[in-house]
């Protein structure tokens, strides 16, 4: 394809009497694009292989007997292309007439109407009238291919983008063209549901209204919608999305907003179709306070006064009696202000974003982040020779990375997949290592050949001959990319695992020009950011240790008060303290531990013993039901802020719709509480908070909203 290396042959050609010089191998379509010459397309898509099938983009090339598809024909030196002659105009008109022969022309009731390439191209290049008076082809419609994707076969123009997506991108081959000629249609295998994790992308690829989202169908017309450039709130990949809201009132859909470093233009179904929650009628829209045992709606002032008073009184009992829990689903700004509130106004370092047990790894991982151990990026999958996944079912943990890995395998990268069970991606790997859980360290030692394959086999249960294949592959690789489960790193073995990875890095990057990059896998949206912001027991923002003199000085310069140096409690420890009736107050923001499938009841019991429990959330969760005061938060669709994804990329979310009811963004809520506790915070907007984050957090020092921009930036150490 199009190469970018210098020294590549350049080709000069003429399109519509204008000269353009492009690299050899460029498609006529792309060369025309450089001149700003539009050529309509349907089957062509930047992410899919050219097939030249629909004939929409045919152009005249001097000296050739027939017009050629500009989407599939490469430029040649001296080529003379014409796209704006009466002959080409007639050809385009003819192709559009053909595409409309069996098209129902039901634009007024079609979701695509108003943003439809078929409609747009017809308007620009198509016939004015319909000459076709015969009977159009009929199909039952719409056909539910799945609960999420509907197919209107009468509108389909057989561009086959969806089919090629399933073949070339998701690799699940679920959609095919059945039958042939004018009778052909798109379908799954008889009786099969289109249950690809990525099915929704076909809706966006569809250049007509044939593939439809059951979530979006009939919800809005394009001219009623406004889109906000945001980030998908559903996992740690942080796919870039456009959040479309109807009349500024309700979110109606998520569309992909390509970020070539993060999502390659794709979204998973879990992200794409879970777009309705900001509109829910069950949202909290007014503060609640417990009166006579009942949660009762109150005004904000009353609620905030109660919260400030409750926290202040609890803190007086001692910093080990209060704690705060942030959230992997809240912004960096919000998590930052939560810890600042506790570390200043309340004197407590008991901060976390999980109730889960933190083993010995917690501190090790913090240390690893501080020293910059993690340096791998999602887009390194495009260059790595060997990709090693340890302990993560990527297809579930970071769905879109599944596509990156398949793409890497497609270009010849070697995938080594270590996971206890044969998950889907394992089938795409060259080497699958199903190890016994808990034997990760020995497995890595085996891969690094620091213990023998036989010894590693004895520990891990993986056949020695499989393990023995790995060291050579790693030795041969110029670049190795490791995705390692964050859960494993936080576990008891985390410390040893990191040491083992360090040894593996030495082995895999021992040769000249060799490198091994490591990326931690955090499935939740902003786990990385929550850690970065200091919601870790024992760490200030930027992973600096509590009590570290230098850190305290730096922070004090910005906070104008010394950060707390009291001994911290983790979420788990806070819970244990609560169960013993030793927690005077807790502030839980955007976390609902009581709803956990396992252990929720014990947590509820413990939390019910907390002297003063505040919950800020978007819904009245089971956890919120136990609170003394409940504060209604904004969802991601109603506020500004930043999220940091699993590869340490800081990206911006933006408000897509007006705020529901009396909700407030958590950073506003926290500022109000701080003000009531005598703090002089003056954040007018989320950006002000971020500026402070950049001053206090070394990794974020070089970031601001402007530089983060539309595509985000990764934080750096040192």
């Amino acid at each position: 394809m199009i190469g970018e290396e210098s020294g590549e042959t350049q080709v000069t050609l003429t399109i519509d009497d204008r000269q353009v010089t492009v690299p050899n191998g460029t498609l006529i379509l792309k060369a025309a694009e450089q001149l700003g010459i539009e050529i309509p397309v349907f089957c062509y898509h930047d992410k899919l292989k050219s097939i030249g099938a629909c004939r929409m983009c045919i152009v005249d090339v001097e000296g050739l007997p027939k017009p050629v598809p500009s989407c599939a024909t490469e430029v040649k030196e001296g080529m003379v292309v014409r796209t704006r002659t009466p002959e080409v105009a007639k050809m385009w008109e003819g192709v559009l007439e053909f595409l409309l022969v069996n098209h129902p022309l039901d634009c007024p009731v079609c979701d695509r109407g108003g943003e439809c390439p078929l409609q747009d191209n017809t308007f620009k290049y198509g016939p004015r009238d319909s000459r076709f008076t015969g009977e159009k082809r009929h199909f039952a419609k719409p056909v539910p291919l799945s609960a999420l994707v509907l197919l209107d076969r009468e509108r389909c123009i057989m561009c086959t983008r969806c089919v090629r997506f399933c073949q070339e991108i998701s690799g699940d081959e679920q959609l095919k063209i059945w039958d042939r000629g004018h009778g052909e249609y798109i379908d799954t295998f008889p009786g099969q549901t289109f249950d690809s994790n990525f099915s929704g992308n076909t809706i966006e690829l569809c250049p007509v209204g044939a593939l439809l989202s059951s979530v979006f169908r009939f919800r809005a017309r394009p001219w009623e919608m406004k889109g906000a450039a945001s980030i998908c709130p559903h996992c740690g990949v942080g796919c870039n999305i456009r959040v479309d809201a109807r009349n500024n009132r309700e979110v109606v859909r998520f569309l992909s907003r390509e970020n070539a470093e993060v999502d390659d233009g794709w979204l998973c179904d879990r992200g794409r179709f879970d777009s309705d929650f900001p509109n829910s009628g069950a949202r909290l829209t007014k503060p609640l306070a417990r009166k006579n045992g009942e949660l009762t709606p109150v005004e904000w002032d009353e609620a905030l006064d109660l919260v400030a008073e409750g926290l202040r009184r609890a803190a007086e009992a001692g910093p080990d009696q209060v704690g705060g829990l942030g959230s992997p689903w809240r912004t960096n700004e919000e998590n930052y202000l939560l810890q600042k509130l506790f570390r200043t106004a309340l004197g407590s370092n008991s901060l976390d974003f999980t109730f889960d047990g933190r083993g010995g790894g917690s501190d090790a991982i913090a240390e690893a982040f501080r020293e910059g151990f993690f340096d791998g990026s999602i887009s390194d999958t495009t260059t790595a020779n060997v990709i090693f996944v340890l302990g993560s079912d990527i297809s579930i943990d970071l769905p879109v990375v599944d596509l990156w890995l398949k793409k890497a395998v497609g270009r010849g990268a070697k995938l080594i997949y270590a996971y206890p069970t044969a998950v889907e991606l394992a089938q795409h790997s060259q080497l699958f290592l199903p190890y016994a859980p808990g034997s990760e360290v020995e497995l890595i030692e085996g891969l690094a050949a620091s213990i023998s394959a036989e010894e590693a086999a004895a520990h891990t249960g993986v056949p020695a001959e499989l393990i023995a294949k790995a060291p050579q592959a790693l030795m041969d690789a110029r670049q190795t990319l490791v995705f390692v489960s964050g859960r494993l790193l936080e576990d008891e073995i985390g410390h040893r695992l990191l040491d083992a990875l360090r040894r593996l890095r030495r082995a895999a990057a021992s040769g000249e020009g060799q490198e091994m990059l490591v990326c931690a896998v955090f499935p939740d949206t902003n786990t990385q950011g929550a850690m970065d912001m200091g919601l870790l027991p024992g760490r200030y923002p930027g992973y600096r240790r509590i009590g570290d003199e230098l850190a305290m000085q730096t922070i004090e310069r910005t906070w104008l008060t010394q950060p707390a140096s009291a001994p911290p409690m983790s979420g788990e420890q806070m819970l244990a303290a609560a169960a013993e009736g030793r927690m005077q107050a807790m502030y839980i923001m955007g976390l609902d531990p009581v709803s956990r499938p396992v252990g929720g009841e014990e947590i509820a019991e413990a939390l019910s013993k907390v002297g003063f429990l505040v919950v800020a959330d978007t819904f009245l969760t089971k956890t919120a039901e136990l609170a003394h005061v409940v504060l209604p938060s904004c969802t991601f669709a109603e506020k500004d802020g930043t999220l940091t994804n699993t590869e340490r990329r800081v990206q911006r979310i933006r408000p897509a719709m007006r705020i529901a009811g009396e909700c407030r963004p958590d950073w506003v809520i926290l500022s109000e509480i701080a003000r009531r506790l005598g703090m002089e915070w003056s954040y007018g907007k989320a950006e002000d908070v971020f500026e402070e984050i950049a001053r206090v957090t070394p990794q974020y020092a070089w970031l601001d909203y402007e530089s983060i921009g539309e595509k985000g930036l990764q934080w750096r150490t040192g």
Binding site: P67, L99, R180
Partner: protein, 422 residues
């Protein structure tokens, strides 16, 4: 005229290996393996002027010469026996009556291009012909004309019969390759051309049955002999399949350049039912129609082209004055609509559009302007479709309107036909 490809008309049981060998069969292969370098075989074929008999008329020797030499990669010959062009049935007879002639041609080509494997892609309906070819392959293998170390040389060849399953498009050479690879028969984008990346993305020659059947004779009797038959640029004989309204439908092997008049009246027994000739399609359904005034056109690539049509497959469909031209065009248009693979819009939708207009005309629902519309729709397909099937679909429509305009208009004005149905 001597029968060359159709020697089976003179020699009984020529399909049997011993009879074939007794009549000089496999001598050409023996000669090539013993005396000729592969490039020399290609050279002889090039010098003979042999052109592809499948329809396009490309120089066979030149096609072979495009196969990269001295590259260590498998190469293939695919014999196109997907004879599906309406009005064409020559390969059927060639395979059944003289299968070893084809196998010898295949072996010679494979030797020339360095292929160790050849597939015969035969249309699914030719089940009997497939069985005949498979039997002949077995016999030839046992006798040492195929298989390992053919005739004591170090040339080995495996020939495999692959049956199609009912898809005209698979006669298009790149659709054929996809079909042979177990996919839907959708034509491929070129470049790359099959000579560089064909079957399994390896260098591949695709030749029609009749083309390959000529090769043993060229090697045996020399390119000069071959070039002395036919015309200067269309050398050799051509097997013409004549069908429709003639008294003696059948295959006729005649020198290239024979006139249509001689073919139809001297060989095919004249027009059926004692009626006058109305139209004939000289090269299978996919080429423009000609009429009585074209009877003296010589049937070779250049002359038919000059007359505004194409020699194509040499399948000549004859219509007498009782045939309604709108009905006949509708019939062919339905064929193309049914056989369109569905890959590109002009062919998939355009053939459907054409059928709808023609149906209306045929049923007496035509409206003023329909004929112009019909012609314009055909024009919008012609040259814009992905492969030649779309072009083919446009030819009967355009040529019949050009030559029988008043008959179309009559259908509109009188809501019916001006001629009795056949």
């Amino acid at each position: 005229m001597e029968n060359i490809l159709f020697k089976h008309l003179d020699i009984a049981d020529l399909e049997k290996l011993d009879v074939y060998v007794a009549n000089g069969g496999y001598a050409a292969l023996g000669k090539a393996l013993k005396e000729l370098a592969p490039a020399e075989v290609t050279g002889l074929v090039t010098r003979s002027g042999l052109r592809g008999r499948g329809g396009a008329g490309f120089s066979t020797g030149k096609k072979w010469s495009f196969i990269p030499k001295d590259v260590d990669t498998p190469k293939y010959l695919t014999c196109n026996a997907d004879e599906s062009e309406p009005g064409t049935f020559k390969d059927r007879e060639l395979m059944v009556r003289n299968p070893h002639q084809l196998l010898e041609g295949i072996a010679l080509c494979c030797y020339a291009i360095g292929a160790a494997k050849s597939f015969i892609y035969i249309r699914g309906e030719y089940a009997h012909q497939a069985r005949v070819m498979e039997k002949a392959i077995e016999e030839a293998k046992e006798a040492g004309y195929l298989g390992r170390n053919i005739m004591g040389s170090d040339f080995s060849l495996k020939v495999v019969v692959h049956r199609g399953a009912g898809a005209y498009i698979c006669g298009e050479e790149t659709a054929l390759l996809d079909s042979l690879e177990g996919k839907k028969g959708w034509p491929r984008f070129r470049p790359p051309f099959p000579a560089i990346a064909g079957l399994y993305a390896k260098p591949t020659v695709i030749n029609n049955v009749e083309t390959l059947c000529n090769v043993p004779h060229i090697i045996s009797r020399g390119p000069e002999w071959f070039a002395s038959i036919g015309t200067e640029k269309s050398t050799g004989t051509k097997v013409f399949s004549v069908s429709g309204h003639v008294n003696k439908p059948g295959n006729y092997e005649l020198p290239m350049g024979v006139t249509a008049r001689e073919l139809l009246f001297e060989h095919a027994g004249g027009i059926w039912g004692g009626r006058r000739l109305k139209a004939f399609i000289p090269g299978g359904a996919s080429v423009p129609m000609l009429t009585e005034s074209d009877l003296d056109v010589r049937l070779d690539f250049e002359s038919v082209m000059a007359a505004g049509s194409m020699l194509g497959s040499g399948g000549v469909i004859v219509m007498n004055e009782d045939a309604c031209i709108v009905w006949a065009t509708l019939n062919l248009s339905k064929f193309y609509n049914h056989e369109s693979c569905g890959k590109c819009a002009p062919c998939r939708e355009g053939t459907y559009f054409i059928v709808q207009i023609l149906k209306a005309l045929e049923d007496g629902h035509g409206l003023p302007g329909d004929v112009e519309k019909l012609r314009d729709v055909a024009t919008n397909i012609d040259g814009r479709s992905f492969c030649a099937l779309g072009d083919a679909a446009a030819q009967p429509v355009k040529s019949s309107i050009d030559r029988f305009h008043e008959e179309y208009e009559y259908h509109i004005a009188h809501r019916g036909c001006m001629v009795g149905r056949s």
